[in-house]
Symmetry: C2
Subunit: 428 residues, 2 copies
């Protein structure tokens, strides 16, 4: 047996403690599987005195992450602090500068600084692995980076924020408003300290940016993502979508088009009977499509101590077994810089229009849609008491630009009682 | 860039041609991702003259597989012939004996000779990879072997034969009998040349044996699998199961128990609303459960040219990138030999009983179940014209042994008009 592989762990929150627990509990199994003992040399966290329910006295304590990353007795620096800058990034850079491998769960850091960190890791001949950064326990990075390496990836789709999916499916099952369920989720501790990271779609967009880079051989481009959170999803739209055979999901979609890299993270409709449509609660799902494999669907817990620690351990075991791949699947210097192409791909849209209940109103709406080249697949007008008539339209495939032209024209007709709601439909 | 990685391919059926196509079409991509050119040195197949729609004149032709496996200009021998013995095995052994890596899609060979081949490969320092052997394009071997390496695996469950799932879901949607749909599937070319491999559950059991070995660190034990095909699944049971909220699937289940390794491949009921219950047609699904990750579900095409070739290419890319793992995740010599423990785990059962319509008949059935320690969760007696009353029972969890005791006793009461049908229910 070769030398033990020695970890230095920065961050002892839920995930960090989960990693320590697995390393202790499964020492024999990890050794059998990797051919090496996996040990912990040093740890650091905000508070040394806090009782975390796991014995830490066997490990050296450092007061800061850079110190852990710099120790001679650390082979892999495990970064579980989080945050795109600050101590997490400083320590990862310090580890790589000293020729140490890095395993991280930090999606924000990779989404923003992934290109620079990948270049540094590869120049140093080190691994930088991040399975835990995307979709928790689901081995989606490995599946994309290695399992589908023989494919030209055509599309990546995912529900990658469990809190948002919890809120949306709970709104549907209870009939309560976004505000009510948001408060409930917050009370249950399901949301990040800054809830905007969840409900604003930022956390999920970080993950999408990482997947895009691997899928398309492009530089990570978080800023290029067309981003919209779930705050404006109404219970009315959830009900109407359901009525038309759809569910509303915060859906990430990435595809490389002739006009650039299309990356979207926004509420979309998916068929109710599809795997994505059936996804309830905090579970994550990622759909990977390639020219050879057609489509695979991966489903599992997107967060939580065990699942996230499982992903961290997968990276550690890979390194222990001698794996050393380019960070995003091909050398960082070869990753292309591609311009963002927001919503260029045509799609059907769900359109909810509130009309003043006057003769000819519906005809005007239909007419401006036609003028803009948007054709109607299905339309429903619901019975109503108020002087406002709710109308639902599912369009045939059209571009968002044409739809926006139609919506602008609709607004000028004077028949609208409120701004129309338009949501993209992804047929997965 | 290092030396090209040179393939020798034996078997140019659908999958072999798919591999050739990807190597030709995606040469630049494969090179970018692995850092090496991937080339083909030699091929062999049954007929040299057959037009396979892909140019082969660039490659040396050999008349037999061992010759391909033995060539000096072959680094990886790609075995796509199939069959547990014969030329496939001879050629794999020849390749390993000459220090060449092997990539194979041959589930039968691995299920039967996996232990010996793994020992040979590891002694030679060679990779033996087989992603394509299980669940086609789904990266399930990689997920289990690497992605969940930090987990003690608790259970593996899967629908891993697309033809069987096609037959069962098609019976349900059409209301036709097994015989009718079998004939339809056979006519469409969905079944193996020997259909018993499919409908007898053998093909799926080969796959389960491979997954068990990785999951539990045990020697591949195909003979230890409790095996039952789908031939006796009736349209009545499909309908009744549906009525009780279940679907019937040919389900593989493996778990390590205190009494041995439980491996089953047999028709089971699963909740209709579960991912497995919702699986339609020829798609495969594997559920992996571990102590840390909880549960992940992988879904995708289990067969077909592109998906299977995608899996073969994943293995080739791994080898090109320098990966060299023990064949079943830990050294072959350390894999445990564990005795088989068929159906020791208690489960609820679905029981269909046909009673002579006489007073007290139902009471006798309930009584013998109670005497055997099998308690009833739900029971339904259906309206009937004939002098035979169909009764459906869902039991609480019980052992198969206790249930069999009850069924034997039931038989002796004289109230049975036909042998009862008992199917295990897996709550996944």
């Amino acid at each position: 047996m070769t030398q033990p592989l020695r970890l230095g762990i920065a961050g002892l929150g839920t995930v960090g403690v989960g990693v320590v627990q697995i390393v202790r509990r499964q020492a024999a199994l990890l050794s059998a599987r990797t051919g090496r003992d996996i040990t912990i040399s040093a740890v650091t966290a905000r508070s040394k005195s806090k009782d975390r329910g796991v014995p830490l006295s066997d490990y050296a304590w450092e007061d800061d992450a850079v110190a852990v990353a710099s120790r001679d007795d650390v082979d892999i620096f495990v970064e579980l602090i989080g945050g795109e800058d600050g101590p997490a990034k400083d320590a990862c850079e310090a580890a790589l500068a000293r020729g140490k491998h890095v395993v991280t769960a930090n999606k924000a850091m990779l989404a923003v600084h992934g290109q620079a960190l990948a270049a540094q890791a590869e120049a140093a001949g080190c691994s930088l692995r991040y399975e835990a950064a995307v979709a928790g326990g689901i081995p989606v990075i490995k599946s994309l980076l290695e399992g589908l390496a023989g494919n030209e990836i055509t599309r990546v789709i995912g529900v990658m924020n469990g809190s948002c999916n919890y809120i949306l499916t709970r709104m549907e099952s209870t009939g309560l408003t976004y505000e009510d369920i948001f408060a409930e989720a917050d009370g249950l501790g399901y949301l990040e300290a800054d809830p905007q990271l969840d409900v604003g779609g930022i956390d999920a967009a970080h993950k999408l940016a990482i997947l895009s880079s691997i899928a398309f051989g492009t530089q990570v481009d978080f800023d290029g993502i067309e981003l919209e959170g779930i705050e404006r999803v109404s219970i009315e739209d959830i009900r109407h979508a359901d009525d038309m055979g759809y569910k509303i999901k915060l859906l990430g979609v990435a595809q490389l088009t002739g006009r650039g890299l299309e990356q979207r993270m926004m509420p979309c409709l998916v068929p109710a009977s599809s795997p994505l449509g059936q996804l309830q609660g905090g579970t994550n799902m990622v759909v990977l499509e390639g020219d050879a494999v057609e489509q695979i669907v991966l489903r599992g817990p997107g967060a939580g101590q065990g699942p996230t620690a499982s992903a961290v351990l997968a990276d550690i075991c890979d390194i222990a077994r001698g794996s050393n791949l380019p960070v995003f699947g091909q050398p960082a210097e070869s990753l292309k810089s591609v311009k963002p192409a927001p919503s260029v791909t045509p799609a059907p849209y769900y359109l909810r229009v509130s009309l003043h209940d006057k003769p000819g109103a519906l005809a005007k709406v239909a007419s401006v849609l036609g003028d803009a080249g948007v054709s109607i697949d299905r339309m429903r007008q619901y019975g109503h008491d108020a002087p406002i008539a709710p109308v639902l339209i599912v369009t045939h495939k059209c571009t968002r630009a044409d739809l926006d032209t139609a919506i602008d024209a609709m607004d000028r007709t004077g028949v609208l009682a409120a701004a129309p709601i338009a949501l993209r439909i992804e047929n997965v």
